[in-house]
């Protein structure tokens, strides 16, 4: 009997360990790149370290303990870190990290697009967060053995859930997991509220929308988080799949022919105004122009994978459906 019990116990232990490691693996995967946010909110905070994260270049980052000298080269990540109250672990941010106030006035700024490797290395960071790999930055930092977390803003952060995944991961990395879960919970509740309200709208009533990124008609395709906003708001994005391009340039006549009922301008900061759009030759034939359904949105809140993406969703919900969302 005894050997049998021992064997059984051993088998159970092994199975248990296997289960444990399985669930842990699944869990870490879910936090970083989940398609569905619901499992995230249900999971209680775990002892985090080591935290592993898949990078956009296919490599894996392992963080053994909470970093104390983070350089954020991603304005979105900067906003998340501030929202988690983990800004004390930042040693520098990139010069486009201008929100919140603390990031705007951050004493140490580096350039994310022409990054000076020496300047970055001199700050002795224990983690660098990168959103786009310009000029082989990631490889150079790897060579210098500087830990890099690289989640490509165009390729790997395309939905609200991806943004929530970023929040969860940065929470785990900076040892503010509980706070990250709270933040995700409140953000997804706000998103949920809009989604529920939108369920009442029949999909055939969905207006089409043209999202403008600049005055030469660059737009955002369905496969971006801008596209995700329009999916939630049941708006048909005229840029479609962008011909496989995340941010395609549309032909002017295609915009006029699509006859969008809503136009959203994310380029007001560059001088495009509602008035100037109305004055464009030929645009008078567009329903959105005739009905004054042109809305401007702060490009910083709609183009950054940070907590304020939900602000963008709420603002557009109010703009597009004023009766529904007061």
């Amino acid at each position: 009997m005894r050997p049998l019990v021992a064997m059984l116990a051993a088998a159970l232990l092994v199975a248990g360990a296997a289960c444990g490691s399985d669930s842990k693996k699944d869990e870490s995967k879910a936090t970083a790149f989940a398609d569905d946010p619901t499992p995230i909110t249900g999971i209680s905070p775990l002892p985090n370290y080591p935290v592993t994260a898949q990078r956009s270049d296919g490599k894996t980052l392992t963080v053994a303990q909470a970093p104390k000298r983070i350089i954020s080269l991603s304005p979105g990540a900067t906003e998340i870190i501030f929202a988690l109250g983990a800004e004390k672990s930042l040693v520098a941010v990139d010069k486009y990290s201008d929100f919140p106030e603390g990031a705007k006035n951050f004493p140490e700024k580096v350039d994310a697009f022409e990054p000076n490797i020496e300047a970055i290395a001199a700050l002795k960071p224990d983690l660098v967060i990168v959103a786009s790999d310009t000029a082989g930055l990631v490889a150079k930092l790897d060579e210098l053995k500087v830990p890099v977390y690289y989640a490509d803003i165009d390729k790997d952060i395309r939905t609200f859930n991806d943004v929530f995944g970023q929040i969860r991961l940065l929470g785990q990395i900076t040892d503010t997991d509980a706070k990250a879960l709270d933040l995700i919970k409140s953000l997804s509740e706000r998103v949920n509220k809009i989604e529920v309200s939108m369920q009442a709208l029949p999909s055939q009533a969905a207006p089409n929308v043209y999202h403008e990124l600049d005055s030469t008609y660059y737009s955002a395709s369905d496969n971006t988080f801008v596209g995700d906003i329009y999916r939630i708001l049941k708006l048909k994005n005229i840029a479609g799949d962008g011909g496989g391009v995340e941010y395609p340039q549309l032909t002017q006549e295609a915009i006029i022919a699509a006859n969008p009922r809503i136009i959203v301008l994310a380029d007001e900061a560059f001088g495009v105004t509602i008035e100037s759009v109305k004055a464009r030759p030929g645009w008078g034939a567009i329903t959105a122009v005739q009905n004054n359904k042109i809305f401007a949105i702060d490009p910083n809140i709609i183009s950054r994978p940070g907590p304020r993406i939900v602000d963008a969703l709420e603002q557009l919900a109010k703009d597009v459906y004023p009766q529904r969302f007061e």
Binding site: Y96, D111, A112, F113, E114, D214, S215, T216, Y217, Y218, G240, G242, G243, V245, P248, Q249, L250, T251, Q252, E253, A254, I256, A257, N259, D267, F270, G271, V272, T273, S276, A279, R280, P281, G282, W283, G284, A285
Partner: protein, 366 residues
């Protein structure tokens, strides 16, 4: 029969392009034919697009915008697409193509150098500096209505050429070699400046790059109105110098002996060609290839007589850029492909084919 003899003697001369024996009136049918062909290409391009609008409707809408013609009611969307979007787009592409090719031919004639092209003296990079300064400026100026972008690019182009000219001027004389070198130098300085500004203001990098790549997606009648006067007037003023350019190809001394102030003529042609190119760049960005290769193509097909090369370069350049733009907006309907990519990818193989096929030297006064 006696009358027929000189005519038949003249015909081979016209065919080989011996400048001495061809008169302007001989060339009239060639011009007319080229103009008709270009017009046909333009009409085709206006009736071709992402949105299918039947050619009769297209022609009806176009005719309806002529004075004193009424062709009935058309849908507002079709009218906007044909008249406000496609027509100015095609006309602007035609004007820019004509200007770049015409100016390229003029530059090649003045410098007697096969690599001469209208951007040689810094027009393009100077314009890029002007446009970049506007694009990064904190003033809210990107709106295309009364945009300061074309005037700034125009000013930048003219300043760059003036700088190149001034730098090359030694002892009140400007040698063409010095002019080429100072043009290259000014271009490099401008290009580095643009690169630096792009990196400094990297939220505007895409906008700057987009402007530099050039294209006609934002074409409007306003842009046509801004650019056309310079392009047309400069072309009309250069054309009478075609004979002189022919003589200068053979022997500048001979031209001098004929009492021609060669240096002055060169300066006038370069100034006019630069002015026209600056206007073209200001409304369309930097579109390569056309100004270099179209004149060579024309020369290979119709011979080196500048009374042919100049106007035919204009027509062929117009038709070529109009068609390149059709390709740019048709590869992936609804989305744009940069036109510079098209001009190079479509044009280069054709040019190489011509270069290999023909026995006549690619450049020179036959």
């Amino acid at each position: 029969m006696q009358l027929a003899r000189p005519r038949s003697a003249r015909r081979p001369a016209a065919a080989t392009g011996d400048p001495a024996l061809v008169t302007w009136s001989n060339l009239a049918p060639t011009y007319a034919l080229a103009a008709l062909a270009t017009l046909a290409v333009a009409l085709f391009a206006i009736s071709w697009g992402t949105v299918h609008i039947a050619p009769p409707t297209t022609l009806g809408i176009l005719a309806g915008h002529l004075p004193f013609v009424s062709t009935g009611e058309h849908s507002a969307t079709a009218d906007a697409i044909i008249w406000q979007v496609r027509a100015p787009r095609v006309v602007l592409a035609g004007l820019v193509g004509a200007t770049l090719a015409f100016s390229g031919a003029a530059y090649q004639g003045v410098f007697r150098n096969p690599l001469a092209e209208p951007y040689l003296l810094g027009v393009a990079s100077g314009a890029a500096v002007g446009a970049t300064l506007i694009l990064i400026s904190p003033m809210l100026v990107a709106a295309w209505v009364f945009s300061p972008l074309p005037p700034a690019a125009f000013a930048g182009a003219l300043i760059a050429v003036a700088a190149a000219y001034t730098l090359a001027r030694v002892n009140r004389r400007v040698a063409t070699t010095s002019l080429i070198l100072s043009g290259v130098a000014v271009s490099s300085v401008c290009t580095s400046l643009v690169t630096y500004l792009m990196l400094m203001y990297n939220t505007r990098t895409l906008a700057i790059l987009n402007w530099i790549l050039g294209g006609f997606n934002t074409a409007s009648w306003e842009k046509v109105a801004i650019g056309a006067p310079y392009m047309i007037v400069a072309g009309a003023l250069i054309l009478p110098y075609a004979r002189l350019l022919n003589v200068m190809q053979l022997d500048e001394d001979e031209a001098r002996q004929l009492g021609v102030n060669v240096e002055r003529v060169k300066l006038i042609i370069l100034a006019l060609a630069s002015l026209a190119t600056a206007a073209a760049v200001a409304v369309s960005g930097l579109i390569g290839f056309v100004g270099l290769v179209v004149p060579h193509t024309v020369r290979m097909i119709w011979g080196p007589d500048y009374r042919r090369v100049l106007p035919l370069s204009g027509f062929v350049g117009a038709a070529f850029l109009i068609l390149a733009d059709v390709v740019a907006r048709s590869i992936d309907p609804g989305y744009e492909v940069p036109i510079g990519v098209v001009t190079a990818l479509v044009g280069t193989p054709f040019f190489l084919y011509l270069l290999r096929r023909q026995s006549r030297p690619a450049f020179g006064a036959a």
